[in-house]
Symmetry: C2
Subunit: 185 residues, 2 copies
């Protein structure tokens, strides 16, 4: 399998960006290749196309599966395994989001909870704790909020996004319109 110039530049770029998105170069490349190539593709084909060892390919595929970004696809009559994206672009974006939250936020939340519970040895520790509490609460809000958004599903989320600048205005209405009824708040 030989990549077209278009595919090549997309794949190379996703490789470069990979490390910024939480995985390494080859993992980024493999993901791009699987997503952009509409046919299911085998590990060997991936290794050939990207010029990487079969072993590295195997590790990369394993990682992408742990992120739930790709899945196996059995082709009847073929012995080897093929791979395809785990869903459409929306699903993949959500998975990346969620997985990163797990790695980037959850461990910190957990530590912060513990640190906040200790009783402070002195004034400056008490100060530090109040900062840590602020950070904790912020992260908690962000986490809940992002879970909320995921729960909305693509259509509503898209609607919300399209709303853009309207959000601020909507919030002002909200107090007048929703307050009083037994709903949020």
């Amino acid at each position: 399998m030989t990549m077209s110039p278009l595919l090549t530049s997309a794949v190379m770029h996703f490789g470069e960006m990979g490390s910024r998105w939480g995985f390494n170069r080859t993992v980024g490349q493999i993901l791009a290749l699987i997503v952009l190539h509409d046919e299911p593709i085998s590990a060997q084909e991936i290794a050939d196309a990207l010029n990487i060892s079969r072993g590295n390919t195997s590790m990369g595929l394993k990682e992408l599966q742990s992120w739930r970004l790709i899945k196996q696809h059995l082709v009847p009559g073929e012995r080897k395994e093929f791979f395809i994206p785990a869903g459409d672009i929306w699903v993949l974006a959500n998975r990346v989001f969620e997985e990163r939250r797990k790695r980037e936020i959850d461990p910190t939340m957990s530590l912060l909870r513990d640190l906040i519970l200790d009783n402070p040895a002195n004034q400056s520790d008490a100060n530090a704790q109040s900062k840590l509490t602020e950070i904790h609460d912020l992260l908690e809000s962000v986490t809940e909020w992002s879970q909320e958004l995921q729960g909305l599903g693509p259509e509503k989320l898209n609607k919300l996004m399209k709303l853009g600048a309207g959000v601020g205005r909507m919030l002002e209405f909200k107090d007048k319109l929703i307050t009083g009824k037994n709903t949020v708040n």
Copy 2:
């Protein structure tokens, strides 16, 4: 300057997480130290507290300034420079968000725009382009949306977050309430 056990564990943790948040271990530690220590702190004190070289400290401070997370603080009568956080936790969180957007999303958007404009050499390139377009549009929405949220400022943003599950419901109202007036949409 010697760090209390509380401060030490917070600083060490932010160091570990640093790489996941887009900077390296020492940069994460320096940031935590500056944020949690309420007094302005000098480069030398940082180097001593964290047991890192003065050179490394200088580089770390430079990086944090490029992220606009810390700023210099001149103490009258003192020759050396002191450092303090560039703002409250909200400001810092916004800055990290924005800076990461610049590094993680903007370059990709720019490449995607280019790739989408090329005319496809064949059917499978055309397919790939349509996927790339989906990705582009998604990233664009996310970007616009996050800029929108930043524009709201902390109070409104907090209100919106507290709204939580109400967002879905609010969206349903929205069509009925706002449509017709010459506003969004």
